[in-house]
Amino acid sequence: MKLFARLRSWFRWIVKPRQLENEMETEVRFHIESYTADLVCKGVPQPEAMRRARIDFGGIESHKDAIRASLGLRLWGEFVGTNPVGKTFHTEHTEELDDRYEIIGVCADAKYADLRDDPPPTFYVLYQQQKDARHGMTFEVRTSGDHGTLIGSIRAAVQSVDRDLPLIDVRTQTEQIKASMAPERLFAAVTSGFGGLALILAMIGVYGIMAHAVGRRVNEIGIRLALGAQASQVLRMVLGETAWLAGIGVAIGLAASLLLTQSLAAMLFGLKPTDPSTLAGAALLLFAIAMLAGWGPANRASLIQPMEALRHE
């Protein structure tokens, strides 16, 4: 119920910001006029009553601002559907200082602290107007030439501003991107490596088991062929057994991965641990590799000559 009221309230602010702004204005003006009227009733002369009401109540705009702030609407509710350039706002930190920011332009959303997070509500401040640079500043220098030779001139430029100013952590954007993605890339490389290794092991395993099984059943297969079985039937039989083996392996693997990848969720981006196409793809690949591994023994079984097989013992 409360949630519903909240959603409805937000919705109204998004859809009808103009109407709500007008209502707010009407309501606040009604307050001031009622207050003035009451003062007049108490014997205060009209002009003096109006003056006192305005002083006691404070600015209408500041009231409206406070209302928006109480709803968390100051930044965007105010600017929805309007051109924000030229308007001003302040933040929690600058409110007491009575410092206001003027909007001089609007830019697109951009990821900020973390690639995984949605772009946060962000405003950028001109660096010349930055009052607090305790944590240092990051400059982006664009060059078409060799960036190695550029560092010297950048350092010289910094030194010319202040000899004691250190220039640290110089890197190219490519390096920066690589560094910020390094854990993920390493993790992906390691897990792919292990995955590939597991696939090869599975292939060797399936091949070994099927070759062994066919080897042990040369006699039986020879008799089947002698009694009229077609080579293709033998082939299908051995492949069918391979498919069973692979199927059981895939089923166990899927169940295990559904359990284990839950703990991996934090490392994934834009992907759920239970992503159907990824799981299906991996299962299909494993199955195909197993069938490929089973093909050799199956083919060999179908080429068995009945006479040789019977003489085999």
Partner: protein, 113 residues
């Protein structure tokens, strides 16, 4: 009239809920009623009234409707919702418990410790 005292922080919401629980009121009416009930002893910052009203409405604790004031003017009237009534009830209880507790602490004499 005694000396006016400032409102304790965090109690305005509770007082607004109480005021509109006695009948629908416009914003200015809320202010008047609280002052009237308190025997003109409570000073409410006018600047904090409307943010609180909008916040309470946003939270679904009060509802608003446009109507006509005594002086035939268009005004926004606030009334208590069911959720607001529950909230007022629990806040009142909490306040009474807290007040009793603080009072008993302040009454404590050295012999009792």
């Amino acid at each position: 009239m005694g000396k006016q005292i400032d409102l304790l922080q965090g109690t305005l919401d509770m007082l607004i809920l109480k005021a509109v629980s006695l009948g629908p009121l416009h914003g200015y009416g809320v202010l008047l009623r609280i002052q009237q009930i308190s025997g003109e002893q409570l000073e409410i910052q006018q600047g904090s009234l409307y943010p609180a009203l909008y916040r309470l409405e946003h939270q679904g604790l009060i509802a608003s409707e446009w109507g006509e004031s005594d002086n035939k003017r268009k005004a926004k009237f606030y009334s208590l919702t069911a959720a607001g009534r529950r909230q007022l009830h629990s806040e009142t209880e909490k306040w009474n418990r807290m007040a009793a507790l603080i009072a008993s602490i302040l009454r404590t004499t050295s012999e009792e410790v």
